[in-house]
């Protein structure tokens, strides 16, 4: 009996090991996989306290299994994070998931899941995603990258059936600019306390997408 129980638990755990990827994540991954390629006109607005930049436009081109390409005629700050609308970065390397329960946002329940890449050379160490179970898509994820810090991506979708988000909001930490005084600018009244402050600032990028040439599988 005891031996049977030990075997049962062992098989049970093995079965748990076989269940590494959450089914909802798999469904989302499958949906994302249907996208072969697309182009989009992106409007980029940046909200960082020490930067004033007008809204800019750019064009992005995505092809499956390739990095997203960005084109612009004007000068544009292209965020390193947040343009990954197909969630390619999240799913490109093998990973496991851990169920973190649910979270209520605006009276709606969402599922929280950790995505942990198993490959050592993966770009990120852990991501926490918030899943809209009703429409089988991710509405928010927080990702801790190895090189580019951590950031939070919030996604808004135009229609219930949309796979790709129409609006994305990326929030991240950024260090204040430190430059010598009187460099290309007026000698303003320098707030020494503010200048000496080491606190990194938070920045937010607002992206809105207008998709064209969308090709599904």
């Amino acid at each position: 009996m005891r031996q049977f129980l030990i075997l049962f638990f062992l098989f049970g755990f093995c079965n748990l090991q076989a269940q590494d990827i959450d089914n909802d994540i798999i469904a989302i991954q499958k949906r994302s996989d249907t996208i072969i390629k697309f182009s989009a006109e992106v409007k980029i607005n940046v909200d960082i306290s020490f930067i004033n930049i007008p809204g800019k436009a750019a064009r992005i081109e995505y092809a499956k299994n390739e990095e997203t390409k960005v084109y612009s005629e004007d000068f544009v700050l292209i965020p390193k994070k947040g343009l990954d609308v197909s969630l390619y970065q999240l799913f490109k390397d093998p990973f496991i998931t851990v169920d973190r329960g649910t979270e209520i946002r605006h009276l709606k329940e969402y599922k929280r899941v950790n995505i942990i890449p198993t490959k050592r050379k993966s770009d990120f160490s852990i991501a926490t995603v918030l899943i809209d179970l009703e429409y089988s898509r991710i509405i928010e994820y927080e990702i801790n990258t190895k090189k580019d810090g951590s950031y939070i991506v919030k996604m808004n979708y135009a229609k219930p059936t949309s796979i790709l988000p129409s609006k994305i909001e990326v929030t991240f930490e950024i260090e204040r600019i430190r430059i010598p005084l009187k460099y290309m600018g007026k000698d303003v009244q320098v707030d020494k306390k503010k200048y000496k402050s080491d606190d990194p600032k938070t920045g937010t990028i607002f992206l809105s997408f207008n998709y064209t040439d969308l090709i599904y599988k």
Binding site: I51, I78, K80, D148, G149, I174, M184, K186, G203
Partner: protein
């Protein structure tokens, strides 16, 4: 009065030193343009260093607009220095050659004579700034093209090309008013001192002191609002993200008042002086 003004213009452009001055200004502009171009990339790299962690940069910031902006920053000392030499020379040379006396022996009113010199000084200054603006735009855009302008004034401000052009254009306009003030001061010093070298030294000293005091933080509301040294860099406000037009109009009106007062003082002194 019109005849006196035309005569002053004629005299100014009949002298070789006027053309030497224009050539010098143009040469300085060329030198600044190319040194700004070679320095510009390192300035940009420093400014954008923190941002490069979070952003890629698409597009070229080292463009004509940035170079004109760098020219603007450097020229507001070099340009008035040359202007004060030419403008004060329009009177000190007449004292030296005693043509002031010859003129006063004609049926010419003293105050009209000196007022015509002031008017021509102002017109010449504005013409030179216009020449500088046009050549800057022409050379910078032709060689380096247009593009977004990046300016650091407490915050990092990015201006789209059309917006940058608009701001730079008005910066030249408001900057020219500061230049007129320095020209008028140099002519007034010429009235008081008469002698060429003394006038140059006094006018250059005035310019240097103004530049030094501009950087000093008086922490005094009255001085910061009314002292003329705080008004001469009004053009910089054009590069705040939200242009403080009220402040610009106030500063410009005040410096125009100071210019007129300086002119009046010069006219009164000249009128009272015994020319012989």
């Amino acid at each position: 009065m019109k005849n006196l003004i035309f005569a002053e213009v004629y005299k100014l452009f009949k002298q070789r030193k006027t053309y030497y001055a224009i050539a010098a200004i143009f040469l300085i502009e060329i030198i600044i343009l190319f040194s700004a171009y070679s320095q510009g990339q390192s300035i940009l790299d420093i400014l954008l260093d923190n941002l490069s962690q979070s952003f890629h940069f698409e597009g070229n910031l080292l463009n004509g607009n940035l170079l004109i902006y760098l020219i603007l920053n450097t020229l507001w000392f070099h340009l008035p220095l040359i202007l004060i030499i030419i403008i004060s020379g329009t009177l000190t040379s007449e004292y030296k050659d005693r043509t002031v006396l010859s003129v006063m022996l004609q049926p010419i009113s003293k105050w009209k004579f000196i007022l015509s010199k002031y008017i021509v000084a102002i017109l010449f200054t504005l013409t030179i700034v216009l020449f500088l603006a046009m050549t800057s735009f022409l050379l910078s855009y032709a060689i380096f093209g247009k593009g977004d302008l990046i300016v650091f004034i407490d915050t990092l401000n990015f201006f789209e090309s059309s917006g940058a052009y608009y701001r730079i254009k008005y910066a030249f306009l408001f900057g020219s008013i500061s230049m007129v003030f320095f020209s008028v001061v140099s002519l007034t010093l010429a009235i008081i001192l008469e002698e060429t070298t003394k006038t140059w030294i006094a006018a250059a000293f005035f310019l240097i002191i103004s530049n030094i005091l501009l950087k000093v933080n008086f922490n005094n509301y009255f001085l910061d609002k009314w002292l003329y040294v705080k008004l001469t860099d009004t053009w910089q406000y054009l590069f705040y993200f939200e242009i403080p037009w009220d402040k610009i109009y106030w500063n410009t009106s005040l410096i125009i008042v100071y210019t007129i007062v300086t002119m009046l003082v010069g006219i009164i002194i000249f009128n009272k002086k015994d020319i012989a």
